[in-house]
Structures are given as structure tokens and as C-alpha cells.
Amino acid sequence: MTTLDRRLVAGALAAIVLLPAAACSPAGSGDEDGSGAGGQDATVVVARTGDIDVLDPHKATAFQTVQTLSLVYDRLVTTDAKGTIVPALAEKWELAPDATSVTFTLRDGVTWHDGDPFTAADVKATIERILDEESAAVARSNLAMISGVETPDDKTVSLTLSSPNAAILYALSSTNASILHDKDITAATVDREPNGTGPFRFGEWAQGQQLTLEPNSKYFGGAPKIGRLQFRVIPSESSILAGMRAGRFQLAAVSDPSIAEQADGSDRMELVKQPTLAYHALMLNGRRGPLKDVRVRQAIACAIDRQQVVDTAAFGDGQVTGPITSPAFTYDELEGLPCTPGDTAAARQLLVDAGQGDGFTLTTIVQTGEYATAGGEAENLQAQLGEIGVKLDLQQLASATYVKQWLAADFDAAVALNGGSSDPYLMYGRYFTEGGSLAGPAGLESKELADLLVQGNGTTDDGARQEIYAELQQKLLELSPWVWMFRGDAYYLVGDDLTGFQARPDEALSSLGTASAGAG
């Protein structure tokens, strides 16, 4: 009676036990990607959770896409790790003192990946493409003040500006201002066949799986030392960690603090934490209800202990920050606030002064699924503000819904992760200047803020800019349109066999152009 059972069960068990063993041998020895080879030909495999979405750098906003295309294309100028403008395709430039024109001298002997020489005509065609609304380039809003492009000779490009704009160099250093070959623009092949001047050539792309970049041996900054760069899409961060532990990847970018925690001290890799330019804030809608009163906004800003948010939501990984995160413009992160954050007594007094001593409720939108700390931040803010009688009604929204309500300023408060920039004007001009493209979600119009931004952007004098932006930071804290909390860390898992990788605040992977593999 039981013999049949036994046979069936034994057969099933054998299938389960033997199959993996059979499969293990080819897989265990299969190191076909050459990660252990080392030297000039070594492939560096980078793991990340998402794939690129478009190939046109002028339309790229997804983090992975920007990161990848900035290795394939160059800008006129770029920034170093400290956020200072340094030469790229332009060797020299001269910004007029009144910031209404800029002239670039282009680098000699640069060639496109297809072999054509790089000339001023390429720059002219690129700028015109960005300004042309038909091409829907995202950099247009930052470059719209360019009123003329002249190319007196093959190596010179002059831009005339309709209004003073000292941020133009930073705007031009964005991947969204990547210089394209005029031939590709005319042939409309930009979104299909990437052809840049950067350290890596676009190779093969298996959508949703992997993307291969080949080194550009003729790169003007020197040929990359690694044989090949491969981006693998591994959607789950815990799988990325497992792959690093197994030595399958040389580099990985992760965002979940709990994964970073597990990676810390693991074999075969080093955890690198890099504060980013992006900042976490509680945006308030100063056009609504009690929030119209500056004292109410200040009370909220005062009640929130920023470090507590960092500790509970981000495992302590993050730096408390003021509004401006640009590396070259660092100021006191609290000066301007009428009290010390976490001082609930002072906060309550401000509410009483404003006639809101009984408290009120704020409809607060929270984005789910985009970054790991959003939920934790919202809950901690809810607890902290509960102490002064401000109740947060949390609405956890999927990304698309969140973006829609955010753009329509359909919220009392928004838990937000906003992108930063090396230039303060590029950070806040679009929120707080008159007619700024994001003036709605900013939640507050202030002539003082707008004036400071325009002034700071209207001079090329470094000392003057420092002073003006210091005042801007103070004013932002004083008016408290939002509560600035902290800059998060970007986490990199760097394999022992990768040397020379350097994390940057703007999260660019440009150091892979000079890194080498196989040392570990």
C-alpha cells in the first residue's frame, strides 16, 4: 500500500535535489564576463535597479539614463567633484562681467565616435535644437535666455543672452545640454543611434537586461583603462547585494539604507556613502488656510527636529541641510529661523501668536515606491508635528498621482525629495522667481526671494554672489515656505577589484572614465 507513495515521493524529491546540483556546475564555473581577468581588457559590471528609458540626452530625466548618457556625450563645460566649472569640449570661456554674453573656445582634435571631427557647427546646431520647442528638450527652460548663437570660426562659439545669467555655465554643464553632432540632428537619428564624444561609445543594448559601453580609445581626456562597461538591470536591491557578495558585479548603486547597512563590512566590497545634492523637504502650501501666516510655517519649521527624521527614516545616513546644497555655496543651515528646531515650546508659542493654538490638519502627500525613506519621513513628521497640535493627514500616492497633485499644487504639505544643483539659481529660480515654471508647487510668492535670485544671477562677481545667496538662504529659512530637512546619502557598493571609483555629489559616474579593474 505504501510502496507507491514511497516511489512517488522519492521521485519528486530526487527531482528537487538533483536538478539544482546539475545546474550548479556550469553556473559556478561560468565566469564568462571576465570579471576576474583584470587589466586592460577587464569588464566592469555595474548593477542598478532600473534601465535607461530614452537615448536622446536632451530628453533624459531618469536617473539611470542621465548617468549613462553623460559617459557617452560631453558638454561644453562640466563640474568637478567640488561643483566648480571645469573645461570639457570648451577649453576656455569668457563670461561678460554683466553676464549677458559668453564666448567659448573649443578644444582641438576632438572626434565623434563615428570618426567625424567636432566643430563649432555642432555646438550651434545643438543649442538651436534645445531652444526649438519642437524637440521638447528639458534644458530649454534653463537656457531660454539665449537669444543668439554665433560661430565666428570653427573653434569659437558666442552666445548672446537676453537677460543677465551667471548660471548659464552650470546650465550648460548638465547632461541635458550634451553636445550632439549636427549631422545626427539633421538626420534625426539622435534618439536611435547615440553618437557622442565621451569616454565611452554606446554598444549593445538588450532592453531591460543589460547595456554595454565600449571604451573610446580616442577620448580627448585619455582612453578609459577598463575594457568594457556593462550596466545590468537587477530590479531587487537585495539581489544586487547578493550578486556583489558573489563577486558578479564590480559596482552597484543602491538607495535603500537597510541594504547599505547589510552591505557594510561585507566581504569583497566597500560601502561608499556620498551625500547628494538632492534634498528632503516638507513643502508647505503657503497659499492655503493657516499656512498663509508666516508664523504658522515657522512654527512647523521649529517643531521639527531634523536629526530625528534622519535617524528614524534614513538609519542616520544623511546630513541636516538648509535650502542651498550647492557645494560652492555653503551657509549655516539654520540661520534665519526664529528658533532652534525641536523647540516645541517656541513652536507652540508661534502658533498661539498666530491664533492657531488649537492646531489644525494638513493634507500631506507622500510619494510611494520612488525612494525608500518617504514613508518613514512622513510618519516621523506626523509624530513630531502632533506634539504641537498640527495633524498630518498622510496620503500615500503612487508616483504618477503624486506628480500630478504636486504640479497642480493640490496639497497642504508635501513630503518631497527635490533635485539640487551646483548653482543656487538653478535650484530655486524656477520655484521662487516671477513666472518660474514651478511657482505653483513652491506654494509662496515673495518679491524678496525673487529679487535676490535675479540679483545673484545677474553678476559674475564671486564675492557678490556669495553674499547674495547667503542672504537668500537666510530669507528662505525666515519665510519658511518649506521645511528643509536633510540631504540623503547615495550608496555605492564598490567591489574590491575596482580601483579609482570616486562618488560625486551629483551622482555622475564620470570617474569610471579613469578607473581600472582587476586590482583586487
Binding site: R232, P235, A246, G440
Partner: protein, 319 residues
């Protein structure tokens, strides 16, 4: 009779597929956000009206909705599944690479899960031994209760930590390219999925077997002195197999829809991930066509199950 049966099945199938197409189209448009906000996020707020119009044309969403539906359906009828808004690649190509992955994963999971489930079901139902029944049931319950993302993550973490092994994550290696390479990518995810399949099949087998084992003809067979093994296999299991086949069909059809979580954890480029990514990016043609392909797969599996009934149970042939 057979031709009429085929004709009515075919008509019903076409109606089902059309229904699926309409529902998917409507639901996709009803969720907030379009391809532009999906691609640009808050940056879409900085677009000028003309830029937005240009992008709408680029993404093919400038036409009125009925027009969009009609032009898509027109293409599908001609065998062309459209072009991805994001990558500009033909959907046929995208689905063509994703479908084999999912089908293989589903087949492999069924090959492991169904025999295992049937064996465990027999083990649970056949004995008078209540402890054995209880133990098997507990295992099955555990198999049903542990979510795939937990089991999958644990499997990946343990393999990496203990054996320094990580499933190959380069491009997908098909079975014809390299048997070992393919198996090294597919086996563990298939095992993870098969746990849930086995648990479900085990429970179905157990109850179906227990029910049939009480029937009069089984007692008769026993009375005639047939060997217990023969009674179990030829009489009880054969008669209990209709619900098992039904449940297997349902499970298989479900797996064909893509196993998003397992595909994410093991980074397999299957249909589930293609659908998931395309929904996030609001890549309408890809979602619509891929769902249609899944629906066709489901219909085919149902058809196969119906045909199997006719083989197993002669009574269904006359009805």
C-alpha cells in the same frame, strides 16, 4: 458536432479577447499620469505648451482616445503589435524575447510543482495515519503562506552567502544556446514558483482523492481483490484527476501572465517585468499588446484543459 463546438469556442474566444483589449485600454487611460509625466516626472511641469504638444505627438497620444484604440486594434488585426513609445522597438520583438522566458519558467515550475503536489496529496490522503496527513498539510500551508518575495530573496541571499553563487544575470540564455547556462538562470526561480504550485495541487489532490476513495466502485474493486496499488492508480487517482487537471490549468495560465516578483528578484527578462515596466512608463502599445498575448495564452491553456477532460473522462465527450 465537433465543428460546431470548435466554432462556438472560437467565437467566444474572440469576444473574450476583444473584451480584454477594451478593458485594458480603458483602465490604462483611467489611471493618472501619461507617458510624458511618467518619463519626465516633475520636470514635465517646466514644459512649454508647444513642447508638450510635440511630446504628445512623439508618444502618439495626441489623437482622441477612440482613434487611438482603433488604430492600435487595426494594427493588431494585421498581426502588428505596434511600437514601444519609449524605445521605439516593435512590440512583437519585445514580447517575442520576453514570452519564451515566461513560458519556460511556467513549464519548469509546473514540471516540478505538479508531480510534487500530487505526490504529497496522495501521501496526505491515502493513509489512515493522521499524523502524516497533518504534517503534509502543514507543509502545504507553509508553502502557500510564505510569499514568493520572501522565499526568493532568501534563496538568492543564501546561495550568494553560503556558496558564492549568483544566478547569471547577463542577457538571457535560451535553452537552445546553452542547456546548463539556461538552467542556471531558470532553475532556482522555477523552484521558488513551484512551491506555491505544489502546495495548491497538494490540497486539490488530497480532497479529490479522499472523495473518490469513498466511492462505491472503489469498494467493489477492493472486493474483487485488485491490488491496492492498482486501485489507487487506475481507479482512484484516474477519477480524481479532473479537478487536479483543472487546478493545474488555472495555475499554468496564471503563471503565463508573468511572475513579476520572481522575475524581479532573479532579474529575468520575462513578460511580467516587461508588463510592469511598461505600466510604470505608461508605454501603452506594449501593455495593451502584451496583455492580449497573455490572454491568448490563457485561452489556449483553457482549451487544452477542456480537451484533456475529454481524454480523461469519456462522459464529457457526449455533452
Amino acid at each position: 458536432m465537433t465543428t460546431r463546438w470548435v466554432a462556438s469556442r472560437l467565437a467566444g474566444t474572440l469576444m473574450t479577447l476583444l473584451g480584454v483589449a477594451v478593458v485594458v485600454f480603458v483602465v490604462l487611460r483611467a489611471v493618472p499620469g501619461d507617458a510624458i509625466t511618467a518619463a519626465l516626472g516633475i520636470e514635465s511641469g517646466s514644459l512649454s505648451p508647444r513642447q508638450r504638444a510635440s511630446l504628445e505627438r512623439f508618444y502618439g497620444i495626441d489623437q482622441p482616445l477612440p482613434m487611438q484604440f482603433a488604430s492600435w486594434l487595426g494594427q493588431v488585426v494585421q498581426g502588428n503589435l505596434g511600437v514601444s513609445l519609449q524605445s521605439g522597438r516593435p512590440v512583437t520583438e519585445l514580447v517575442g524575447t520576453a514570452l519564451p522566458v515566461t513560458v519556460e519558467l511556467a513549464v519548469l515550475a509546473m514540471l516540478i510543482g505538479v508531480p510534487l503536489g500530487v505526490a504529497m496529496g496522495l501521501l496526505a490522503a491515502s493513509g489512515l495515519d493522521r499524523r502524516r496527513d497533518g504534517a503534509t498539510q502543514a507543509v502545504a500551508l507553509l508553502g502557500l503562506a510564505v510569499p514568493e518575495f520572501v522565499l526568493g530573496s532568501v534563496v538568492v541571499a543564501v546561495l550568494a552567502q553560503a556558496f558564492g553563487y549568483f544566478p547569471d544575470t547577463g542577457s538571457f540564455v535560451s535553452l537552445t544556446d546553452s542547456f546548463g547556462g539556461n538552467l542556471s538562470q531558470m532553475l532556482y526561480p522555477a523552484l521558488v514558483i513551484s512551491v506555491g504550485v505544489a502546495a495548491t495541487i497538494m490540497r486539490t489532490t488530497r480532497s479529490a482523492y479522499a472523495e473518490v476513495a469513498e466511492a462505491d466502485f472503489v469498494r467493489t474493486a477492493r472486493g474483487k481483490g485488485l491490488s491496492p496499488g492498482r486501485i489507487r492508480l487506475r481507479h482512484v487517482l484516474h477519477n480524481a484527476s479532473v479537478p487536479i487537471v483543472t487546478m493545474s490549468g488555472i495555475q499554468f495560465g496564471y503563471l503565463l501572465g508573468g511572475t513579476v516578483i520572481v522575475e524581479e528578484i532573479f532579474s529575468l527578462p520575462g513578460l511580467g517585468r516587461l508588463l510592469f515596466t511598461s505600466i510604470t512608463q505608461r508605454d501603452y502599445p506594449v501593455v495593451q499588446s502584451a496583455v492580449l498575448v497573455v490572454a491568448v495564452g490563457f485561452v489556449l491553456v483553457n482549451l487544452a484543459v477542456d480537451l484533456l477532460y475529454r481524454v480523461i473522462d469519456p462522459r464529457t465527450r457526449t455533452s
